[in-house]
Amino acid sequence: MGSTNSTLSKIPNVEELMQETGFTPAHIVRLYDRFEALDKEKTGHLRPQDFGAINRLAMNPIGDRIIGAFFSPGQETVDFHSFVRILAHFRPADKKRPKDPSMPEPVNSRTSKLKYPPLVFSLISVAFQLYDQDKDGKISRAELLQVLRSMLEMQVTEEQLESIADRTIQEADLDKDDAISFEEFRKSLEKVNIDHKMSIRFLR
């Protein structure tokens, strides 16, 4: 506990951060250690290269997108607070954590500063943002193709990719605008029950 406290004291505004993200002190300390390990030059900020140094992330087909999600447009670095806030999206939905009604003001006001303004703490929206690189609120065919291409690792022909993309859009596209909106995206994943199944255990 002693070390926990000492680490916590190094982080500015730690109380606020914890309240906002719902992380426990142990989580924060753990993330802080990780942050420092990644931050090789001890600048207090992470740059894309720092993320790129994670070996396994480089192997991840959508690694670039994930890294990109940590940086607001036009910003080259990310500090610890933003880092933690973004990771907070991947916490499992937790009933015990005070929901928006109980503390609507602080959450909303602060999250509005974050990258995703109408933020619901949900993995779905994060995933959608990762697809939607041009941020027009829709996954277009080109965007889908890009993702498919990186995930399938060049093992298929362009033709196949295109037909898969067509099929995918055709299937999910309810309003026939040849793109997948967030609503359509959410609908197509309804049965997967993402919020329950897919969250990272230790971040609870």
């Binding site: 993330l31 993320f51 192997m59 067509d166 099929r167 199944k197 230790f202």
Partner: protein, 823 residues
């Protein structure tokens, strides 16, 4: 909906009655055969007990006959026996076949009476049938054959069921909940065994129960036998209540994995109940033994699974025996595990789960279907037999009824199950992301059914070591009956009452597949960023390893490179192509359908646009024959298309999807078809007309009775009349259907169908939905589904013949399928 019901009911009640009668007749007939069989067989059974004697006797008999013949030969020439009876010659296989026949007919019968099977689970009905059969045999004054022999059960009846379960085990939910399942399976079973065994011993020591001679170790042994949840019983009941995936996998997974615990406890207690002393050392040995039994079982299964996968790599030239490898390797895994007293069930599960992805990539589509069919068939027959035998064994067995022992057992089982589940859930919930609610706990506790495994284990006990064996068996049977009847029958209403979440229709869309993979990658990435080596991290590592090395070794040719997504996509498109072809639309005018075009991009071979040109050429007589054959097989195929998963029917695919946009396309197709038929009759082949699948099935199933019944019940023209396909215009090579010609019943039918379509639509739809509901018994299905399908069939079948003939929708579209199924 209400209209449909109202229309349906008059015919429904009538057919119900008739079916009941039919069933009764069948039952009586069967009882009769079994009875005579029992009478005939019983002396032989006693003779078989001392096999040597039996053989001698038979040899003597032959010897006598021979000498007799010889002596006769000299005097008068006896007439050569034109017909002779030698029942003994065929007795064993004949009786086995009779039992299997009985089981299958019973199953058939229950599905003819949907109302009965709606209330009572099939397992209960089967046990009752078993009781009846046993009772009749006994009434005839014969000895009831010891049908549920432990060897028979463990070596023949159990493996198919477990293999079916293992091969089709939903890996993802299983692995996601593996912690919880293991907790219930290991700790829960241990707790149950010791709680029940210990308290039972305590009760036995109370004065006045006359059970004071029962010792502690036999009690614990009994506890360990009775405490294991039975996979067969669980499957039978849970399949029918359509519970949600989580609960299903929890209870079912527990029933599978607790086998190792049961095996170890059983052998431990059996061993020590002779010796009497248990030292701490023995406990340690027990724990080690448990690890060996479970992990060893898994290892044996995995080895055989990999061998099977590797073998299937080389079968591309002998497709016919492909399915056999799956069965034989799995069975070998089971036997090998049993040989070392490892957990055979775990070996089978591991074997099935390990081999499946690779085998499926290697074997042909047809072989895959065969594997599916055989697994379903075997497991379903075994399960039926097990329940029937359970009933028969109840009648047969010597019973020692002891009120105290039996009632205490039943109560303790319930109590310990509830305490165990609630206690364990309390611990588990601290680690789970999705907490188990009180309702979930209730269902898990209540779904802990006991079954034939417990009985067989009890049956195995040695009478000399366990004087209480008979009493144990009676108590076990009572507990099985209690759980299967009381809990099994009430669980369905309770699930409804508690509004427990039901299973969703498992249709996977390509969107889901893509996004799930995307999310997996995303979470792996985030875990890496956090430096946390969790669930996703290891899964990703395993996937990479699998892709890099294992797939290369185990999957033949270039397919190993095929990413999962592509494989999935192919499967899906393939499925859809079959549907399109079956319904007769789509192929003719590819331009009308965007996705059709896109599909051809991937597999240009699949449905060549050239079909349209090929439609015109003339047919020879031989070709006509062929067409008819193909048509027939296609009709069957349509019949088999099922819409929801049931273990006893073939899986409708979980990948069956795109239903809605498919329908839209269909609509377009129908319109086009109409135009085409109007302007060009030459395209119409005199075909077996569209016929609702259920009718075909009914006709095949029970011939004339049904025909008569249907004809009576029907307002619309009897579709049976057009079933007989006749060559319409003989000698004429070109098939031209003269719409006016009275000789061609089929073409008249075509007309009929156009003119009466309005009227028929309704009637047929009604019937179809109704019959379908009946046939599928408990399947949950929105009423609209049936209608949709009907609409599609009606529409699609306007001109089905040609398309069906020309493009065999069989799996021949896949590359490796080009050679015929039979070499």
């Amino acid at each position: 909906m209400s209209v449909r019901v109202a229309l349906h009911s008059p015919t429904g009640s009538r057919s119900f009655l008739e079916r009941g009668l039919l069933l009764l007749v069948m039952l009586i007939f069967l009882e009769g055969t079994v009875l005579t069989l029992g009478a005939a067989s019983s002396p032989d059974i006693s003779a078989q007990d001392n096999t040597g004697g039996g053989h001698d006797r038979r040899d003597d008999h032959r010897g006598i006959a021979g000498s007799h013949e010889q002596t006769n030969y000299t005097y008068t020439k006896k007439a050569f026996p034109v017909l002779s009876l030698d029942y003994h010659h065929i007795q064993v296989p004949f009786e086995i076949s009779l039992w299997v026949l009985l089981a299958s007919l019973m199953k058939l019968g229950f599905h003819l009476i949907p109302r009965l099977s709606g209330i009572v689970p099939e397992s209960c009905l089967l046990i009752v049938v078993g009781l009846l059969v046993g009772g009749l045999i006994k009434l005839a004054g014969e000895e009831v054959p010891p049908v549920l022999d432990s060897n028979l059960f463990f070596l023949c009846l159990l493996p198919p069921i477990i293999l079916d379960a293992g091969y089709f085990l939903p890996i993802r939910p299983f692995m996601e909940n593996i912690g919880t399942i293991l907790m219930f399976a290991v700790v829960g079973t241990l707790w149950n065994a010791f709680f029940v065994g210990g308290l039972l011993y305590a009760v036995c020591q109370i004065e006045g129960t006359y059970l004071s001679q029962v010792e502690l170790l036999p009690c614990l042994l009994f506890g360990s036998i009775i405490s294991a949840v039975d996979p067969v019983a669980v499957l039978a009941v849970f399949e029918e209540i359509h519970i949600n995936e989580l609960l299903h996998i929890l209870v079912f997974g527990e029933s599978l994995l607790n086998d190792a615990v049961t095996v170890v406890l059983y052998h431990l207690f059996e061993e020590y109940s002779g010796a009497g002393e248990v030292t701490p050392m023995d406990v340690v040995l027990g724990v080690i033994c448990f690890l060996i039994v479970s992990l060893g079982g898994i290892a044996v299964g995995a080895i055989y699974g990999i061998l099977a996968a590797f073998t299937s790599r080389f079968t591309s030239h002998t497709r016919v025996i492909e399915p056999l490898f799956v069965f034989v390797y799995s069975y070998m895994a089971y036997l090998s595990a049993e040989m070392f007293h490892l957990s055979g069930i775990m070996a089978l599960i591991a074997c099935g789960a390990v081999m499946r992805p690779y085998v499926e990539a290697n074997i042909s589509h047809k072989s895959h279907t065969t594997v599916k069919y055989f697994l379903k068939m075997w497991s379903s027959v075994s399960e039926t037999l097990i329940f029937i035998f359970l009933g028969v064994a109840t009648v047969a067995g010597p019973h020692a009824w002891n009120w105290t022992f039996v009632s205490v057992t039943v109560i303790l089982c319930l109590v310990s199950r509830v305490i165990g589940v609630v206690g364990l859930t309390f611990i588990i919930n601290k680690f789970r992301i999705v907490k188990l609610t009180t309702k979930d706990q209730f269902i898990v506790a209540y779904g802990g059914l006991r079954g034939a495994i417990a009985f067989s284990l009890g049956y195995l006990l040695n009478k000399d070591h366990f004087p209480m064996r008979t009493m144990f068996l009676t108590a076990i049977i009572t507990e099985i009956f209690f759980t299967v009847f009381v809990q099994g029958m009430t669980i369905k209403p309770l699930v409804d009452l508690l509004a427990v979440k039901k299973k969703q229709e498992a249709k996977r869309s390509i969107n889901e597949e893509i996004h799930t993979q995307f999310l997996d990658h995303l979470l792996t990435g985030i875990e890496d960023i956090c430096g946390h080596y969790g669930h996703h991290h290891w899964k990703d590592k395993l996937n990479r390893f699998n892709k890099k090395y294992i797939k290369k070794c185990l999957i033949a040719g270039e397919r190993y490179k095929e990413p999962q997504l592509i494989a999935f996509y192919h499967k899906m498109e393939f499925k859809q192509a079959i549907e399109l072809v079956e319904s007769g639309g789509g192929v003719k005018l590819p331009s009308a359908m965007p996705s059709q075009v896109s599909m051809q991009n991937i597999q240009p071979k699949k449905l060549p646009p050239a079909v349209a040109e090929r439609a015109l050429p003339q047919f020879t007589k031989g070709r006509e024959e062929e067409i008819r054959k193909i048509l027939r097989s296609n009709l069957q195929k349509t019949r088999q298309r099922l819409r929801s998963y049931n273990r006893h029917t073939l899986v409708a695919d979980p990948f069956e999807d795109g239903w809605n946009d498919f329908l839209l396309k269909k609509q377009r197709m129908i319109e086009l078809e109409k135009k085409m038929t109007e302007m060009s009759n030459y395209l119409t082949v005199p075909a077996a007309p569209p016929d609702s699948p259920t009718m075909c099935r009914a006709r095949l199933a029970s011939g004339d009775d049904f025909k008569a019944e249907k004809a009576g019940a029907k307002v619309i023209p009897d579709p049976n009349a057009f079933y007989n396909i006749k060559a319409s215009s003989e000698g004429v090579p070109t098939i031209q259907v003269d719409l006016a010609s009275p000789q061609s019943p089929d073409s008249v039918n075509m007309l009929n169908e156009f003119s009466k379509r309005g009227a028929k639509d309704q009637g047929l739809g009604q019937r179809e939905v109704a019959t379908r509901d009946e046939d599928q018994g408990l399947m949950m299905k929105p009423s609209s589904a049936g209608k949709e399908e009907k609409g599609e069939e009606e529409g699609g079948n306007k001109n089905p013949g040609l398309m069906r003939c020309l493009s065999d929708p069989g799996p021949s579209n896949e590359d490796e399928e080009d050679e015929p199924f039979l070499p």
